[in-house]
Symmetry: C2
Protein backbone atom coordinates (compact mmCIF):
# COMPACT_ATOMS: atom_id res chain seq x y z
CA UNK A 1 0.00 0.00 0.00
CA UNK A 2 1.40 3.40 -0.77
CA UNK A 3 0.98 6.63 1.13
CA UNK A 4 -0.77 8.47 -1.72
CA UNK A 5 -3.67 6.03 -1.64
CA UNK A 6 -4.11 6.68 2.09
CA UNK A 7 -4.05 10.46 1.49
CA UNK A 8 -6.97 10.09 -0.90
CA UNK A 9 -9.01 8.14 1.67
CA UNK A 10 -8.17 10.71 4.35
CA UNK A 11 -9.37 13.55 2.13
CA UNK A 12 -12.60 11.69 1.34
CA UNK A 13 -13.28 10.92 5.01
CA UNK A 14 -12.77 14.56 5.98
CA UNK A 15 -15.15 15.72 3.26
CA UNK A 16 -17.81 13.25 4.35
CA UNK A 17 -17.48 14.18 8.04
CA UNK A 18 -19.06 17.60 7.32
CA UNK A 19 -17.33 19.33 10.23
CA UNK A 20 -18.45 22.82 11.15
CA UNK A 21 -16.03 25.65 10.55
CA UNK A 22 -13.42 26.42 11.70
CA UNK A 23 -12.91 22.73 12.60
CA UNK A 24 -12.93 21.72 8.94
CA UNK A 25 -10.17 24.19 8.04
CA UNK A 26 -8.14 23.16 11.07
CA UNK A 27 -8.40 19.45 10.23
CA UNK A 28 -7.46 20.07 6.59
CA UNK A 29 -4.53 22.15 7.80
CA UNK A 30 -3.09 19.51 10.14
CA UNK A 31 -3.35 16.84 7.46
CA UNK A 32 -1.69 19.15 4.93
CA UNK A 33 1.45 19.58 7.01
CA UNK A 34 2.80 16.15 6.10
CA UNK A 35 3.53 13.02 8.06
CA UNK A 36 4.57 9.52 7.19
CA UNK A 37 1.16 7.87 7.80
CA UNK A 38 3.21 5.21 9.52
CA UNK A 39 0.46 3.73 11.69
CA UNK A 40 -2.16 3.25 8.93
CA UNK A 41 0.58 1.73 6.74
CA UNK A 42 1.47 -0.70 9.53
CA UNK A 43 -2.22 -1.49 10.06
CA UNK A 44 -2.62 -2.23 6.34
CA UNK A 45 0.51 -4.40 6.22
CA UNK A 46 -0.72 -6.47 9.17
CA UNK A 47 -4.09 -6.81 7.43
CA UNK A 48 -2.39 -7.84 4.16
CA UNK A 49 -0.50 -10.65 5.92
CA UNK A 50 -3.88 -12.39 6.14
CA UNK A 51 -3.95 -12.58 2.35
CA UNK A 52 -6.92 -10.31 1.64
CA UNK A 53 -7.23 -7.12 -0.38
CA UNK A 54 -8.36 -4.15 1.72
CA UNK A 55 -11.97 -3.08 1.08
CA UNK A 56 -13.65 0.24 1.92
CA UNK A 57 -14.16 -0.69 5.60
CA UNK A 58 -10.47 -1.55 5.97
CA UNK A 59 -9.34 1.67 4.29
CA UNK A 60 -11.62 3.77 6.51
CA UNK A 61 -10.25 1.99 9.56
CA UNK A 62 -6.76 2.99 8.38
CA UNK A 63 -7.92 6.61 8.15
CA UNK A 64 -9.42 6.34 11.65
CA UNK A 65 -6.02 5.34 13.02
CA UNK A 66 -4.36 8.38 11.46
CA UNK A 67 -7.13 10.64 12.83
CA UNK A 68 -6.47 9.30 16.30
CA UNK A 69 -2.72 9.80 15.91
CA UNK A 70 -3.24 13.39 14.73
CA UNK A 71 -5.41 14.21 17.77
CA UNK A 72 -2.58 13.08 20.07
CA UNK A 73 -0.15 15.38 18.24
CA UNK A 74 -2.49 18.40 18.39
CA UNK A 75 -3.13 17.97 22.12
CA UNK A 76 0.57 17.20 22.79
CA UNK A 77 1.61 20.47 21.15
CA UNK A 78 -0.72 22.64 23.30
CA UNK A 79 0.85 25.19 25.68
CA UNK A 80 -0.15 23.19 28.77
CA UNK A 81 1.63 20.12 27.33
CA UNK A 82 4.83 20.42 25.24
CA UNK A 83 4.10 24.01 24.17
CA UNK A 84 5.43 23.50 20.64
CA UNK A 85 5.14 26.26 18.08
CA UNK A 86 6.27 24.22 15.11
CA UNK A 87 5.63 20.71 13.85
CA UNK A 88 7.46 19.55 10.75
CA UNK A 89 8.58 23.16 10.30
CA UNK A 90 5.03 24.53 10.17
CA UNK A 91 2.97 26.33 12.82
CA UNK A 92 1.20 23.92 15.17
CA UNK A 93 -2.61 23.84 15.16
CA UNK A 94 -2.97 26.17 18.15
CA UNK A 95 -0.47 28.65 16.68
CA UNK A 96 -2.56 28.78 13.52
CA UNK A 97 -6.12 28.56 14.95
CA UNK A 98 -5.79 29.42 18.65
CA UNK A 99 -5.81 27.13 21.65
CA UNK A 100 -9.56 26.63 21.96
CA UNK A 101 -10.01 25.55 18.34
CA UNK A 102 -6.93 23.30 18.56
CA UNK A 103 -8.41 21.64 21.66
CA UNK A 104 -11.73 21.06 19.88
CA UNK A 105 -10.00 19.92 16.67
CA UNK A 106 -8.16 17.25 18.65
CA UNK A 107 -11.43 16.23 20.30
CA UNK A 108 -13.21 16.10 16.94
CA UNK A 109 -10.44 13.93 15.44
CA UNK A 110 -10.60 11.38 18.26
CA UNK A 111 -14.36 11.33 17.84
CA UNK A 112 -14.03 10.94 14.05
CA UNK A 113 -11.63 8.04 14.57
CA UNK A 114 -14.32 6.13 16.46
CA UNK A 115 -17.05 7.19 14.03
CA UNK A 116 -15.01 5.72 11.17
CA UNK A 117 -14.29 2.51 13.08
CA UNK A 118 -17.97 2.11 14.01
CA UNK A 119 -18.94 2.73 10.41
CA UNK A 120 -16.43 0.09 9.31
CA UNK A 121 -18.11 -2.29 11.76
CA UNK A 122 -21.23 -2.20 9.56
CA UNK A 123 -19.32 -3.82 6.70
CA UNK A 124 -16.56 -5.84 8.33
CA UNK A 125 -17.33 -8.61 10.85
CA UNK A 126 -14.11 -8.01 12.82
CA UNK A 127 -14.02 -4.20 12.86
CA UNK A 128 -15.90 -3.79 16.16
CA UNK A 129 -13.52 -6.17 17.94
CA UNK A 130 -10.51 -4.42 16.37
CA UNK A 131 -11.92 -1.03 17.43
CA UNK A 132 -12.47 -2.26 20.99
CA UNK A 133 -8.87 -3.47 21.32
CA UNK A 134 -7.64 -0.27 19.70
CA UNK A 135 -9.63 1.86 22.15
CA UNK A 136 -8.16 0.02 25.15
CA UNK A 137 -4.57 0.54 23.96
CA UNK A 138 -5.11 4.21 23.06
CA UNK A 139 -6.89 5.17 26.30
CA UNK A 140 -6.25 5.98 29.94
CA UNK A 141 -4.49 2.68 30.64
CA UNK A 142 -2.48 2.90 27.39
CA UNK A 143 -1.33 5.89 25.35
CA UNK A 144 -3.07 8.55 27.47
CA UNK A 145 -1.98 6.76 30.65
CA UNK A 146 1.62 6.93 29.46
CA UNK A 147 1.35 10.64 28.68
CA UNK A 148 -0.06 11.32 32.15
CA UNK A 149 2.63 9.27 33.86
CA UNK A 150 5.38 11.01 31.94
CA UNK A 151 4.05 14.40 33.07
CA UNK A 152 3.98 13.39 36.72
CA UNK A 153 6.88 10.93 37.07
CA UNK A 154 9.02 11.74 40.10
CA UNK A 155 11.60 9.09 39.31
CA UNK A 156 11.44 8.92 35.52
CA UNK A 157 14.36 6.49 35.22
CA UNK A 158 12.52 3.76 37.09
CA UNK A 159 9.42 4.16 34.92
CA UNK A 160 10.94 4.92 31.53
CA UNK A 161 10.21 1.57 29.86
CA UNK A 162 6.63 1.52 31.10
CA UNK A 163 6.09 5.08 29.94
CA UNK A 164 7.68 4.60 26.49
CA UNK A 165 5.77 1.37 26.06
CA UNK A 166 2.48 3.09 26.80
CA UNK A 167 2.88 6.46 25.15
CA UNK A 168 4.62 5.24 21.97
CA UNK A 169 4.47 1.48 21.55
CA UNK A 170 0.81 1.05 22.51
CA UNK A 171 -0.43 3.14 19.58
CA UNK A 172 1.81 1.27 17.15
CA UNK A 173 0.73 -2.08 18.54
CA UNK A 174 -2.93 -0.97 18.58
CA UNK A 175 -2.69 -0.22 14.85
CA UNK A 176 -1.00 -3.51 13.97
CA UNK A 177 -3.27 -5.53 16.25
CA UNK A 178 -6.37 -3.99 14.65
CA UNK A 179 -5.03 -4.91 11.20
CA UNK A 180 -4.19 -8.41 12.38
CA UNK A 181 -7.66 -8.94 13.86
CA UNK A 182 -9.40 -7.66 10.73
CA UNK A 183 -7.06 -9.70 8.52
CA UNK A 184 -7.72 -12.87 10.51
CA UNK A 185 -4.13 -13.55 11.61
CA UNK A 186 -3.47 -16.48 13.92
CA UNK A 187 -2.13 -16.22 17.48
CA UNK A 188 1.46 -17.03 16.47
CA UNK A 189 1.53 -14.15 13.98
CA UNK A 190 -0.11 -11.76 16.47
CA UNK A 191 2.37 -12.69 19.21
CA UNK A 192 5.25 -12.14 16.79
CA UNK A 193 3.88 -8.78 15.68
CA UNK A 194 3.41 -7.70 19.30
CA UNK A 195 7.05 -8.48 20.06
CA UNK A 196 8.01 -6.64 16.85
CA UNK A 197 5.89 -3.58 17.73
CA UNK A 198 7.25 -3.17 21.25
CA UNK A 199 10.84 -3.41 20.11
CA UNK A 200 10.27 -1.31 17.01
CA UNK A 201 8.36 1.28 19.07
CA UNK A 202 11.15 1.58 21.61
CA UNK A 203 13.81 1.93 18.89
CA UNK A 204 11.59 4.45 17.10
CA UNK A 205 11.12 6.59 20.24
CA UNK A 206 14.78 6.55 21.28
CA UNK A 207 15.91 7.28 17.71
CA UNK A 208 13.44 10.19 17.70
CA UNK A 209 14.99 11.48 20.95
CA UNK A 210 18.47 11.18 19.36
CA UNK A 211 17.35 13.14 16.27
CA UNK A 212 16.00 15.82 18.61
CA UNK A 213 19.35 15.95 20.33
CA UNK A 214 21.22 16.24 17.02
CA UNK A 215 18.88 19.02 15.80
CA UNK A 216 18.41 21.10 18.93
CA UNK A 217 21.58 20.25 20.82
CA UNK A 218 19.58 19.19 23.87
CA UNK A 219 16.90 16.72 24.91
CA UNK A 220 14.24 16.83 27.63
CA UNK A 221 15.25 15.49 31.03
CA UNK A 222 12.57 12.88 30.64
CA UNK A 223 14.18 11.05 27.72
CA UNK A 224 16.34 7.99 27.19
CA UNK A 225 19.44 9.83 25.89
CA UNK A 226 19.34 12.30 28.80
CA UNK A 227 19.16 9.54 31.38
CA UNK A 228 21.43 6.90 29.87
CA UNK A 229 23.64 8.99 27.59
CA UNK A 230 23.95 9.06 23.80
CA UNK A 231 26.17 6.03 23.48
CA UNK A 232 23.82 3.74 25.36
CA UNK A 233 20.86 5.18 23.46
CA UNK A 234 22.48 4.38 20.09
CA UNK A 235 23.24 0.86 21.34
CA UNK A 236 19.67 0.40 22.59
CA UNK A 237 18.25 1.38 19.21
CA UNK A 238 20.42 -1.26 17.53
CA UNK A 239 19.46 -3.97 20.00
CA UNK A 240 15.73 -3.24 19.78
CA UNK A 241 15.85 -3.10 15.99
CA UNK A 242 17.48 -6.50 15.85
CA UNK A 243 14.98 -7.90 18.34
CA UNK A 244 12.14 -6.55 16.21
CA UNK A 245 13.51 -8.19 13.06
CA UNK A 246 14.18 -11.44 14.95
CA UNK A 247 10.57 -11.47 16.19
CA UNK A 248 9.35 -11.51 12.60
CA UNK A 249 11.63 -14.39 11.66
CA UNK A 250 10.84 -16.43 14.78
CA UNK A 251 7.11 -16.31 14.18
CA UNK A 252 7.41 -16.97 10.46
CA UNK A 253 6.29 -13.54 9.31
CA UNK A 254 7.65 -12.73 5.89
CA UNK A 255 7.24 -8.97 5.51
CA UNK A 256 9.80 -6.86 3.68
CA UNK A 257 7.78 -3.80 4.76
CA UNK A 258 8.06 -4.47 8.51
CA UNK A 259 11.72 -5.46 8.15
CA UNK A 260 12.72 -2.33 6.25
CA UNK A 261 10.64 -0.18 8.58
CA UNK A 262 12.61 -1.44 11.58
CA UNK A 263 15.88 -0.63 9.84
CA UNK A 264 14.64 2.83 8.88
CA UNK A 265 13.64 3.53 12.46
CA UNK A 266 17.20 2.71 13.44
CA UNK A 267 18.45 5.32 11.00
CA UNK A 268 19.72 2.89 8.40
CA UNK A 269 18.97 3.51 4.76
CA UNK A 270 17.32 0.53 3.10
Amino acid sequence: MNKQVIEKWIADAIDKASFDEPLLSAVKYVFSTGGKRLRPLMFLEAYALGGNEPNEAVMNFAVAIECLHQYTLIHDDLPCMDDDELRRGKPTCHKKFGEAIALLTGDALMNLAFTLMLNAAKNHPKAAEAAYEFSLLSGGSGVIGGQARELCAQDFKSEIYDIYRKKTCDLIWASVLAGGIMGGLNKKFLDGLKEYCFNFGLAFQIYDDLMDLAEKGSVPEKSYPYIFGTEKAVEKVKICTQKAIDALATSGINSKFFEELALKAAGRKV
Copy 2:
Protein backbone atom coordinates in the same frame (compact mmCIF):
# COMPACT_ATOMS: atom_id res chain seq x y z
CA MET B 1 -34.13 3.71 36.94
CA ASN B 2 -32.69 5.68 39.79
CA LYS B 3 -29.49 7.68 39.93
CA GLN B 4 -27.90 5.56 42.68
CA VAL B 5 -27.91 2.50 40.44
CA ILE B 6 -26.09 4.48 37.73
CA GLU B 7 -23.50 5.69 40.27
CA LYS B 8 -22.69 2.07 41.10
CA TRP B 9 -22.17 1.18 37.43
CA ILE B 10 -20.01 4.29 36.95
CA ALA B 11 -17.80 3.31 39.91
CA ASP B 12 -17.44 -0.24 38.58
CA ALA B 13 -16.54 0.93 35.08
CA ILE B 14 -13.88 3.31 36.43
CA ASP B 15 -12.35 0.52 38.51
CA LYS B 16 -12.25 -1.84 35.55
CA ALA B 17 -10.72 0.78 33.25
CA SER B 18 -7.42 0.59 35.23
CA PHE B 19 -6.37 4.12 34.36
CA ASP B 20 -2.84 5.17 35.23
CA GLU B 21 -2.38 7.77 37.94
CA PRO B 22 -3.08 10.62 38.18
CA LEU B 23 -5.85 10.02 35.62
CA LEU B 24 -7.64 7.62 37.94
CA SER B 25 -7.74 10.15 40.80
CA ALA B 26 -8.87 12.90 38.42
CA VAL B 27 -11.70 10.78 37.00
CA LYS B 28 -12.86 9.75 40.47
CA TYR B 29 -12.76 13.40 41.50
CA VAL B 30 -14.90 14.70 38.64
CA PHE B 31 -17.50 11.98 39.22
CA SER B 32 -17.51 12.75 42.95
CA THR B 33 -18.51 16.38 42.45
CA GLY B 34 -22.12 15.52 41.71
CA GLY B 35 -24.31 15.87 38.67
CA LYS B 36 -27.80 14.79 37.74
CA ARG B 37 -26.77 11.94 35.39
CA LEU B 38 -29.50 13.33 33.17
CA ARG B 39 -28.28 11.89 29.86
CA PRO B 40 -27.86 8.28 31.03
CA LEU B 41 -31.27 8.50 32.72
CA MET B 42 -32.81 9.73 29.46
CA PHE B 43 -31.01 6.96 27.54
CA LEU B 44 -32.38 4.35 29.95
CA GLU B 45 -35.91 5.74 29.78
CA ALA B 46 -35.86 5.62 25.96
CA TYR B 47 -34.57 2.04 26.18
CA ALA B 48 -37.28 1.12 28.68
CA LEU B 49 -40.02 2.36 26.33
CA GLY B 50 -39.20 -0.72 24.22
CA GLY B 51 -40.38 -2.90 27.09
CA ASN B 52 -37.10 -4.58 28.03
CA GLU B 53 -35.14 -4.66 31.27
CA PRO B 54 -31.63 -3.17 30.91
CA ASN B 55 -28.83 -5.76 30.95
CA GLU B 56 -25.12 -5.22 31.60
CA ALA B 57 -24.43 -3.97 28.05
CA VAL B 58 -27.20 -1.40 28.36
CA MET B 59 -25.99 -0.18 31.77
CA ASN B 60 -22.42 0.17 30.49
CA PHE B 61 -23.69 2.14 27.51
CA ALA B 62 -25.41 4.47 30.00
CA VAL B 63 -22.10 4.91 31.81
CA ALA B 64 -20.37 5.60 28.47
CA ILE B 65 -22.79 8.46 27.82
CA GLU B 66 -22.00 10.05 31.19
CA CYS B 67 -18.24 9.65 30.53
CA LEU B 68 -18.64 11.49 27.26
CA HIS B 69 -20.66 14.25 28.92
CA GLN B 70 -18.02 14.65 31.65
CA TYR B 71 -15.24 15.02 29.07
CA THR B 72 -17.13 17.91 27.45
CA LEU B 73 -17.43 19.63 30.86
CA ILE B 74 -13.72 19.18 31.71
CA HIS B 75 -12.57 20.56 28.35
CA ASP B 76 -15.19 23.35 28.46
CA ASP B 77 -13.88 24.53 31.83
CA LEU B 78 -10.24 24.83 30.64
CA PRO B 79 -8.63 28.29 30.60
CA CYS B 80 -8.61 28.44 26.79
CA MET B 81 -12.37 27.76 26.77
CA ASP B 82 -14.69 29.12 29.51
CA ASP B 83 -11.91 29.41 32.10
CA ASP B 84 -14.10 28.28 34.98
CA GLU B 85 -12.62 27.78 38.43
CA LEU B 86 -15.66 26.18 39.96
CA ARG B 87 -18.25 23.63 38.87
CA ARG B 88 -21.10 22.83 41.22
CA GLY B 89 -19.25 24.86 43.85
CA LYS B 90 -16.13 22.70 43.68
CA PRO B 91 -12.76 23.33 41.97
CA THR B 92 -12.80 22.35 38.31
CA CYS B 93 -10.55 19.48 37.18
CA HIS B 94 -7.73 21.76 35.96
CA LYS B 95 -7.85 23.79 39.20
CA LYS B 96 -7.38 20.58 41.15
CA PHE B 97 -4.98 18.64 38.88
CA GLY B 98 -3.48 21.22 36.53
CA GLU B 99 -4.30 21.95 32.90
CA ALA B 100 -2.29 19.13 31.31
CA ILE B 101 -3.87 16.42 33.44
CA ALA B 102 -7.34 17.92 32.94
CA LEU B 103 -6.79 17.86 29.18
CA LEU B 104 -5.71 14.20 29.31
CA THR B 105 -8.52 13.28 31.72
CA GLY B 106 -11.04 14.65 29.23
CA ASP B 107 -9.34 12.73 26.43
CA ALA B 108 -9.33 9.54 28.50
CA LEU B 109 -13.04 9.91 29.31
CA MET B 110 -14.01 10.32 25.66
CA ASN B 111 -11.89 7.29 24.87
CA LEU B 112 -13.48 5.31 27.74
CA ALA B 113 -16.93 6.23 26.44
CA PHE B 114 -16.16 4.50 23.14
CA THR B 115 -14.42 1.58 24.86
CA LEU B 116 -17.57 0.96 26.89
CA MET B 117 -19.83 1.27 23.85
CA LEU B 118 -17.63 -1.12 21.84
CA ASN B 119 -17.61 -3.55 24.73
CA ALA B 120 -21.42 -3.33 24.89
CA ALA B 121 -21.44 -4.19 21.17
CA LYS B 122 -20.12 -7.66 22.05
CA ASN B 123 -23.29 -8.44 24.00
CA HIS B 124 -26.00 -6.32 22.40
CA PRO B 125 -26.87 -6.61 18.70
CA LYS B 126 -27.81 -2.92 18.38
CA ALA B 127 -25.03 -1.32 20.46
CA ALA B 128 -22.63 -0.75 17.54
CA GLU B 129 -25.33 1.02 15.53
CA ALA B 130 -26.31 3.10 18.58
CA ALA B 131 -22.64 3.98 19.19
CA TYR B 132 -22.20 5.02 15.55
CA GLU B 133 -25.19 7.38 15.67
CA PHE B 134 -24.03 8.68 19.05
CA SER B 135 -20.53 9.39 17.70
CA LEU B 136 -21.93 11.37 14.76
CA LEU B 137 -24.07 13.58 17.00
CA SER B 138 -21.30 14.16 19.56
CA GLY B 139 -18.56 14.97 17.01
CA GLY B 140 -17.30 17.75 14.76
CA SER B 141 -20.62 18.12 12.93
CA GLY B 142 -22.60 17.92 16.19
CA VAL B 143 -21.67 18.86 19.76
CA ILE B 144 -18.03 19.79 19.03
CA GLY B 145 -19.11 21.60 15.86
CA GLY B 146 -21.53 23.70 17.93
CA GLN B 147 -18.83 24.53 20.49
CA ALA B 148 -16.47 25.65 17.71
CA ARG B 149 -19.14 27.75 16.01
CA GLU B 150 -20.07 29.44 19.28
CA LEU B 151 -16.42 30.41 19.84
CA CYS B 152 -16.09 31.95 16.40
CA ALA B 153 -19.57 33.31 15.64
CA GLN B 154 -19.39 36.87 14.31
CA ASP B 155 -23.16 37.28 14.25
CA PHE B 156 -24.27 35.04 17.09
CA LYS B 157 -27.93 36.07 16.84
CA SER B 158 -28.30 34.66 13.35
CA GLU B 159 -26.75 31.34 14.38
CA ILE B 160 -28.09 30.92 17.91
CA TYR B 161 -30.59 28.15 17.19
CA ASP B 162 -28.08 26.14 15.13
CA ILE B 163 -25.45 26.53 17.84
CA TYR B 164 -27.79 25.64 20.74
CA ARG B 165 -29.14 22.71 18.78
CA LYS B 166 -25.65 21.35 18.18
CA LYS B 167 -23.87 22.09 21.43
CA THR B 168 -26.74 21.17 23.78
CA CYS B 169 -29.57 19.34 22.03
CA ASP B 170 -27.37 16.99 19.98
CA LEU B 171 -25.92 15.29 23.06
CA ILE B 172 -29.37 14.90 24.62
CA TRP B 173 -30.79 13.54 21.39
CA ALA B 174 -27.73 11.29 20.90
CA SER B 175 -28.40 9.74 24.32
CA VAL B 176 -32.11 9.19 23.72
CA LEU B 177 -31.57 7.96 20.16
CA ALA B 178 -29.01 5.40 21.37
CA GLY B 179 -31.50 4.16 23.98
CA GLY B 180 -34.26 4.05 21.38
CA ILE B 181 -32.12 2.06 18.93
CA MET B 182 -31.01 -0.43 21.58
CA GLY B 183 -34.57 -0.70 22.90
CA GLY B 184 -35.94 -1.37 19.42
CA LEU B 185 -38.32 1.62 19.23
CA ASN B 186 -40.23 2.20 16.00
CA LYS B 187 -39.84 5.23 13.73
CA LYS B 188 -42.92 7.02 15.11
CA PHE B 189 -41.54 6.86 18.65
CA LEU B 190 -38.04 7.94 17.53
CA ASP B 191 -39.46 10.89 15.58
CA GLY B 192 -41.50 11.93 18.62
CA LEU B 193 -38.49 11.64 20.91
CA LYS B 194 -36.37 13.68 18.51
CA GLU B 195 -38.94 16.48 18.54
CA TYR B 196 -39.07 16.19 22.34
CA CYS B 197 -35.27 16.31 22.69
CA PHE B 198 -34.77 19.39 20.55
CA ASN B 199 -37.46 21.33 22.36
CA PHE B 200 -36.47 20.06 25.77
CA GLY B 201 -32.79 20.79 25.01
CA LEU B 202 -33.54 24.35 23.97
CA ALA B 203 -35.67 24.97 27.08
CA PHE B 204 -32.97 23.36 29.21
CA GLN B 205 -30.19 25.56 27.76
CA ILE B 206 -32.14 28.81 27.99
CA TYR B 207 -33.32 28.01 31.53
CA ASP B 208 -29.67 27.32 32.41
CA ASP B 209 -28.73 30.74 31.00
CA LEU B 210 -31.50 32.32 33.09
CA MET B 211 -30.27 30.59 36.26
CA ASP B 212 -26.79 31.93 35.50
CA LEU B 213 -28.23 35.41 35.19
CA ALA B 214 -30.08 35.09 38.50
CA GLU B 215 -26.97 33.80 40.28
CA LYS B 216 -24.23 35.98 38.82
CA GLY B 217 -26.24 39.02 37.78
CA SER B 218 -24.94 38.77 34.22
CA VAL B 219 -24.87 36.39 31.28
CA PRO B 220 -22.38 35.94 28.43
CA GLU B 221 -23.01 38.02 25.32
CA LYS B 222 -23.43 34.79 23.43
CA SER B 223 -26.60 33.67 25.19
CA TYR B 224 -30.32 33.77 24.56
CA PRO B 225 -31.22 36.08 27.49
CA TYR B 226 -28.49 38.56 26.51
CA ILE B 227 -29.69 38.74 22.92
CA PHE B 228 -33.46 38.55 23.33
CA GLY B 229 -33.90 39.77 26.93
CA THR B 230 -35.13 37.96 30.03
CA GLU B 231 -38.83 38.23 29.28
CA LYS B 232 -38.54 36.61 25.87
CA ALA B 233 -36.23 33.96 27.30
CA VAL B 234 -38.77 33.01 29.98
CA GLU B 235 -41.48 32.88 27.32
CA LYS B 236 -39.30 30.73 25.03
CA VAL B 237 -38.68 28.21 27.82
CA LYS B 238 -42.43 27.87 28.33
CA ILE B 239 -43.15 27.43 24.63
CA CYS B 240 -40.41 24.84 24.13
CA THR B 241 -41.47 22.91 27.23
CA GLN B 242 -45.02 22.72 25.96
CA LYS B 243 -43.83 21.65 22.51
CA ALA B 244 -41.71 18.92 24.10
CA ILE B 245 -44.66 17.58 26.07
CA ASP B 246 -46.92 17.81 23.04
CA ALA B 247 -44.41 15.82 20.99
CA LEU B 248 -44.73 12.94 23.44
CA ALA B 249 -48.53 12.97 23.28
CA THR B 250 -48.64 13.29 19.48
CA SER B 251 -46.46 10.24 18.94
CA GLY B 252 -48.21 8.17 21.60
CA ILE B 253 -45.31 8.08 24.05
CA ASN B 254 -46.53 7.54 27.58
CA SER B 255 -43.60 8.54 29.80
CA LYS B 256 -44.11 10.25 33.11
CA PHE B 257 -40.32 10.56 33.35
CA PHE B 258 -39.93 12.54 30.12
CA GLU B 259 -42.98 14.66 30.93
CA GLU B 260 -41.80 15.60 34.42
CA LEU B 261 -38.27 16.19 33.16
CA ALA B 262 -39.53 18.76 30.67
CA LEU B 263 -41.45 20.56 33.42
CA LYS B 264 -38.40 20.49 35.71
CA ALA B 265 -36.24 21.99 32.98
CA ALA B 266 -38.72 24.82 32.79
CA GLY B 267 -38.24 25.45 36.50
CA ARG B 268 -41.55 24.01 37.59
CA LYS B 269 -41.67 21.69 40.55
CA VAL B 270 -43.33 18.39 39.79
